[in-house]
Amino acid sequence: MVFSYNWLQSFFKKKLPTPQKLAGPLIMKSFEVEKVKKMKNDWILDIDVTPNRAGDCFSHIGIAREIAAIINSKFQIPEYKIQNTKYKIQDFISLEVRDKNACLRYTARVIIDVKVGVSPKWIQERLISCGLRPINNIVDIVNYVMLETGQPLHAFDCEKLENKKIVVRFAKKGEKIITLDEQNFSLDEDILVIADDKKPVAIAGIKGGKLPEVDKKTKTIVLESANFESKLIRRTSKKLKLKTDASLRYEHGIDPNLTEIAINRAAFLIQKIALGKVAKGLIDFYPKKVFPKKIKLDLDYMEKLLGEKVPKKEIKNILEKLDFKIQNLPFKILTIEIPTKRLDISIQEDLIEEIGRIYGYEKIKPIFPITSLIPSKRNLNIFWEDKTKNILKEVGFYEVYNYSFVSEKDSKIFDLTSLIKIRNPMSGEQRYLRPNLIPNLLKNVQRNQNYFSKIKIFELGKIFKSPKNEKRQLTGLITGEAFYEVKGAVDSLLNGLGISDIWYDSFEPSPKESKIFIWHPKKCAEIKVGKEKIGFLGEISSKVLESYQIKNKVIVFDIDFEKLEKLSLEETIYQPISRFPAAVRDLAILVPQGTKVVEVLNKINIAGGSLVKDIDIFDIYEGKELPQGKKNLAFHIIYQAERTLISKEIDEIQQKIIKILEEDPEWQVRK
């Protein structure tokens, strides 16, 4: 909110520090000052008043009071006196408030014989400084008093009110109003209005209507200074999408005792400037009067909370400067009377803040806490996440962080279900919460494919499922012919997490699933640990890749991290290293192309028994030189025992293996 420096100065007899010098202490003790800007012969301070202080500081008087406390100076509110006239207010207007929970207070004054015209220069300048456009002396004074006191006011042309009545009531469904700025609104039963005998003349607390507008011919005006329930005004303002200087103040809450002060100030200015005659009496609907509260302030507690002792003299000075009244100064527990304008003060901690900030937080010396030595708890979730990320980094993956959202388009391509929909997305890119990590990883590929020939990325993050499920998922991919590289990475990862019983199971999608299957049907597998299915591995279907304009193949692993974490083991048990030499024999075999390597491995293991320590496949070859429909597999077989094996013994086992392999007529060991 912007404030005029000249206006603030007008409350002080002594010269204020320069605007730039004033900003410093304001920032340190009250509010952030966003900007200090020169404007004609005035300066503008853009002050970020916090929402809790709107009640008293959305006004020049409020900020002046803060300045007085901060720089320890005296400030004075301008005086005003209303002259007696022969007119009686009852002869001009009557008031009826139908809902005392919605309208907490309604004060009105009538001013007769006003001369509507241009307002004096000093008022115009101050309004312009604060970003308001001068209109005529009546409207300008009303706005001026709002900026000065924080109380929104409104002026009606008395003669334009039907039957000279003001009724505060909820609108009828379908009732309409045209506001001062010529906007049309259709009203309903939840909207509070100011009406005359027949129709709404203002949207309460938000905006005046066009009908009873003050114009050049206006002679008699009704001034309104009211207090409406803050939540009601906020709801209406949101519903009508209509924010005004008045609604802003009302929705934050205002002291009901302020209406009277403000209306008298405005009446005084109109009497002085527009030469009006103020009718005797104040119409005042105020069923539940608000009185100052009292709060006990325990000085020992204050010291305990701030960690610093503030001298009592300072406490007294600070509180009094801010208009608080101390009732029992000599004691340790003070009773403080809170002025009703301080809507934000309701507990002693609020007072401690007032004292702390004005005294100066910089005076609080840092002290390390004295506390029991409770060791921090180990967070295993984070431990396993870090471990996982480190392993994937070691095998060459880049970690990415993607948005937690997917678009309508993603949802169509993947035919996603059980999605959680965002009620108020910022754009189509955030229609749903991501149900898996693959769409956004594919977008990463798309964006990077022109710069990198090979992309190797992963993400570990939350995925979501209706109604409110969230869990961690680990998904990674490599571009190109990388099926075995991805599989090897998954093996390395799982081994690194202490998981050994890993295997890959073929997956046959059901007819229903195959329609929406995002994987290449022949190049995918389920990742299993023991009997448990923990994820999926495979090549993404070219149909999906086309939708994301990806040129290369993409091989993905997609693992349920919650399951993975449960299976992970931290301990590693050392296996003694054999003192006896290992012997290696190679074996090449021609098998039909459909034969799985695991079938050959199983037979070698069965035939070789315990002396076969390990089998490495080092070549898989399919080519023209080979017989039709065959492929060549080549293995290193590693023999080892807890004694030195002699050559003859190894040859015998190797022969046995060959014999068993060749039991299948389609298999042919190459010699």
Binding site: K29, L306, E308, E349, I352, S404
Partner: protein, 342 residues
């Protein structure tokens, strides 16, 4: 026989001296010391000699054999050394040719900074905790003393979830975790949470729709603003690995009272004013305060017995300061040219 040995010694000496490479040397060795070598045969023929002579000649022959072995070994070393020098003389490496780099993976900068932050707070006795990203209104707002239909709620622009009746939202800060933790754990307690949050606002160089927030909480019988100041200063000092200066100024959060903002003297200009700190000399770091009694109550704690401090800080901002990154959107761009720098 005696003469023979002397002649033999001279002959061998010459042969060894004239040898050029290891192959020739092996031949010499074979010729004299091999199974059918000259000296081997001499030693073998000794048994035919009379005893006295056998001892005498035997001794000399053995001496010659030892002499020969030493000579051969020395010569071998000499040749190897020579060849080594010759090869080294010929071999070259161009160290200006770029090295062959192994393909390394990279962790996201937020992961790296998260680890470092967790480490520092764990060393100060804080446990690392977490909470759900889908929250309800109570934990995100009401429980934190942010009433419904109050303008204070406008400080947190919120993504709401369907259906409207569920009243579910994406948490706008990690502070709900504080309430959830206090409900289930007895004080004294010290916790840190660094996790993903969401704000319904337009993105620009310093705002993102999802982001990470670090939230800290300490609840004790006796804990003060002074204690918070010391703790957070220590954190920054360890994090930036240099002495830092902080300042505290008033602010407003519904869940703390008093509330304050922490600024740090600009690391870039040391307070003189520069583009990084928008010429103020200070950088806004975080919001903090003493936990509001209502929040303690809402978490099942009696504010008469317990007090605490809490703070919340944008985690990307911290990371951006550390690496001098100027646009928050880079973190979520998935741009490998960015990620490979960490």
């Amino acid at each position: 026989m005696k003469l023979d040995l002397k002649i033999l010694k001279n002959k061998v000496q010459k042969e060894i001296d004239s040898v050029k490479d290891l192959k020739e040397l092996t031949e010499v060795s074979k010729r004299y010391l091999g199974k059918k070598g000259i000296l081997t045969e001499i030693l073998g023929s000794l048994k035919k000699l009379p005893r006295v002579e056998k001892v005498k000649v035997g001794k000399e022959a053995n001496q010659l054999k030892n002499f020969l072995r030493i000579k051969l070994d020395q010569k071998a070393i000499e040749i190897k050394e020579k060849t080594r020098k010759e090869t080294e003389e010929q071999e070259r490496i161009d160290f200006s040719v770029p090295g062959k780099k192994p393909i390394l993976g990279h962790l996201h900068p937020l992961t790296e900074v998260k680890k470092k932050t967790e480490e520092i707070f764990q060393a100060m006795g804080f446990s690392i905790v977490r909470g759900p990203q889908i929250e309800n209104e109570w934990y995100n707002f009401d429980g934190l003393n942010i009433p419904k239909d109050h303008p204070a709620r406008d400080l947190w622009d919120t993504f709401w979830l369907e259906p409207e009746s569920s009243k579910l939202l994406l948490r706008t800060h990690t502070t709900p975790v504080d309430v959830r933790y206090m409900e289930k754990n007895n004080p004294p307690l010290r916790i840190i949470t660094i996790d993903r949050c969401f704000r319904h606002e337009a993105t620009d160089a310093s705002h993102e729709i999802n982001f990470y927030q670090i939230d800290g909480l300490q609840v004790e019988k006796n804990i003060s603003v002074a204690n918070f100041k010391a703790t957070i200063q220590e954190f920054f000092q360890r994090f930036f690995d240099k002495p830092v200066k902080i300042r505290m100024r008033p602010s407003y959060f519904p869940f703390t009272e008093p509330s304050f903002e922490i600024d740090m003297l600009c690391l870039n200009c040391g307070g003189k004013g520069c583009s990084v700190c928008q010429n103020t000399g200070w950088m806004e770091m975080l919001g903090a305060g003493m936990v509001h009694p209502n929040v303690l109550k809402n978490s099942g704690l009696n504010p008469k017995n317990w007090q605490g401090w809490a703070f919340g800080m944008g985690f990307e901002r911290l990371t951006m300061m550390k690496y001098k990154i100027d646009d928050i959107r880079l973190f979520y761009s998935g741009d490998l040219r960015f990620l490979k720098q960490f």
